[in-house]
Point group: C2
Chain length 207, copies 2
Amino acid sequence: MTKKGVLLVVSGPSGAGKGTVIRDAMERDKSFYYSVSATTRAPRAGEIDRVNYHFVTRERFEEFIRDGAVVEHTEYSQNYYGTLRSETEGKCDDGFNVILEIEVDGASQIKKKFPEAVSVMILPPDFKTLENRLRSRGTNTEEDIKRRLDRAREEMKFYGDYDYLIVNYDNEVRAAADELISIVKCEHMRTLRNPDFPAEFFNLNNN
Amino acid sequence: MTKKGVLLVVSGPSGAGKGTVIRDAMERDKSFYYSVSATTRAPRAGEIDRVNYHFVTRERFEEFIRDGAVVEHTEYSQNYYGTLRSETEGKCDDGFNVILEIEVDGASQIKKKFPEAVSVMILPPDFKTLENRLRSRGTNTEEDIKRRLDRAREEMKFYGDYDYLIVNYDNEVRAAADELISIVKCEHMRTLRNPDFPAEFFNLNNN
């Protein structure tokens, strides 16, 4: 029997470097599966359906909600964003450690629905570093930066709701990715995730 | 401020290889401290006070119990065995990850007193392997082996009370020790063990 994968919720403010850390971990550990979200917003230039998002109509998304086909969702700028059940439970059952890169509100919906899910907050070492990173991107307007920093302050209020903290120091992406990989390995060692071990332990003896 | 170490309870049947795994982990990770138990039994040839055990009188041990100086204890073959508070809380406060190699009953006392303690059961892959290991030691009588196997069956009933399972495969001590080291590293990443992070995160910004 395939061992069930871990459902891994990863959050963190814009500028924390979540995406880079996740990519680095996934390149080295093939047990990860990145859950592709569903959205009703229109694809941007270069975005590919089922790779960047599952792009669906508003009617379809509301059908998903009614049918319980999305396990968490939120509305933002008049568009729905959510996680498909098939991208989570389905993939975990296949043995993948499924990464959900979602916001704090979605994370709390997931933890309620799947108490065995593991949540990780990826943060820069301090607020100043976060600001520096947002500025150094160069693509953000001053208003944009201010909005993201305000949002980060809000997100930090949910810190205690997360199981693990990964501090993503400047130029230490590899170390942060190693921590993400370690967390999943350790979670697989939990007796809770190995309830059948004692039975197997004794059974082998009878063969 | 020194970060508090993890209080790590390690149990497992005789023949699981606990001692070897712990030694290998301690040789490579200097953050570990091995808690030396107190006992009222007489030292055996070669045993050194404060290295193998804190050898104390029965009166002294009962004083420890009354004063709360032992955090768990048990009586076995008319002798007391127990863990000193100074070997646990004290060393954790100094930043050490403290290993308590204790039996299932002591483990449950520790978990009640220190809910933040982490418990690990080290087991061979199956019962047959356990038996083979006990036999291959050569130093055990048949009666001894039977007694240890019976005891192992009893200990397995407490499997679900432990947080983590480490399977110690034949000739894979290093891998099991790596898992022990990993568990402690991951536990240090828990937000619960880093309650001050958000305050520090914002404070640094004001400097």
